[in-house]
Symmetry: C2
Subunit: 252 residues, 2 copies
């Protein structure tokens, strides 16, 4: 019995669901040369991952002991397939499959589940708005590698959604968030508040390979500022650099 005709693979980095997953998550992340290239990576990657584990554990502890990303992704997935079934009966039933990069469920899990459900048409749908080799690129590469490993390389007819940096819904949501922030200011001062857009940074080596990420982040900022239509000064900065290589600035 076919349980789904069209499968949507929701690709993302993922996050540790509980504190025991923090170290394996960081180990996998710092081993991925598509996200960061370190000198002596086989040694330096695990060193940085293990050294950061206690700090990252404390941060996850402070937000309830784990990343909420799986729950959020599943909630979005349920809403998405319900909407797709309504909008496109010809390709229904739709089903979503989560493919995280560094924690379970991974690409293999998504592919095997799609196969078991009888999916014929599959959409690789990145959950990263902007394309980067280190995020969507790494997820797509892993998805194709996993398809080979599982023997499912020819099992699906694929489409790819690899970026949506200025999608109407994304820009509207971002603008609402900024507006909520501005509303916390006294109306007399509100227009003078500086809006700081803080995107995750990338190592300069990734930028110098020609990554489209900063271009697309910049386009999104412009769209949000236009939609907001306030005179506030604003700035795009980059955060969360780590390790001994130079990252894209300005640093948040």
């Amino acid at each position: 019995m076919i349980k789904a005709k069209t499968g949507i693979v929701m690709m993302n980095l993922g996050g540790p669901a509980n504190l025991d997953q923090v170290e394996p998550f960081l180990l996998e992340l710092f081993a991925d040369r598509e996200i960061i290239q370190l000198p002596l990576q086989r040694w330096l990657g695990p060193f940085i991952a293990r050294r950061r584990t206690p700090k990252v554990k404390r941060l996850y502890q402070s937000i309830g002991g784990g990343s909420p990303i799986l729950g959020y992704t599943e909630a979005q997935g349920r809403g998405m397939v319900e909407r797709l079934d309504r909008l496109s009966p010809a390709t229904a039933p739709h089903q979503f499959y989560v493919a995280f990069r560094y924690v379970q469920p991974k690409s293999e899990d998504a592919l095997r589940a799609m196969h078991a459900d009888g999916v014929k048409r599959a959409v690789a749908f990145t959950q990263y708005p902007q394309f980067s080799c280190s995020t969507t690129g790494s997820s797509l590469n892993e998805l194709w590698r996993a398809a080979s490993r599982t023997g499912l390389r020819d099992s699906f007819e694929w489409s790819v959604i690899d970026r949506w940096p200025v999608h109407e819904g994304f820009i509207a949501a971002m603008t609402d968030t900024v507006r909520e922030g501005l509303e916390q200011f006294d109306p007399a001062d509100r227009d003078r508040a500086v809006i700081l857009f803080s995107a995750h940074s990338l190592p300069l080596d990734v930028i110098d390979r020609g990554d489209s990420y900063p271009q697309e982040v910049g386009a999104g900022v412009q769209r949000v500022v236009e939609r907001l239509a306030t005179p506030n000064p604003y700035l795009l900065a980059y955060q969360s650099d780590v390790g001994p290589v130079r990252w894209l600035g300005p640093s948040t």
Copy 2:
């Protein structure tokens, strides 16, 4: 007699009008710490400027012996004031004044001419589409400094147009240029041509101070690609880095 009521100061870098102006132009450019900060600048700036002079002279020689930028700016200025006189009779007559940063006419020339013409309202109008501290910022600072030097600090009521990175006319012109380029390809291959957007680079130190230039360049690229509405792959790169500091990449 008032010859002009509203003055529009067209600010730009400028370029040497003839080969004799190449060395003084480069000397001024490499002395400006708002455009580039070099170690031992007082010594290294002139050194780089003088070493580059013969090469830059040859390049200007090959395009007719000088930069066409003054002629182009004056042609645009004439068209602009004609249009402004028609669109806004209340602020007419309008007159344009060129203020280059490193060659004449400079800010002093523009300010003195405006004063002589009886201008009351002035618009500092950058000719750089995207804002950068190193271009528009440097020009604005120089304009205010020149106003002090000439004793004309309180002579005009100022407005500022400091950026227009996604202005409709700018995006339309850029898109037309890309389209003309694509039309040179065989229709069978056209959609596979890679569109390389090449913007002038900036030293990373300028970027790390929080310059808005890359964000605005990225926004313009997105707008051109959307307007073009072709499936061509595209890439934003940065060109013309010079000197011993690291610049924003990827390098064209």
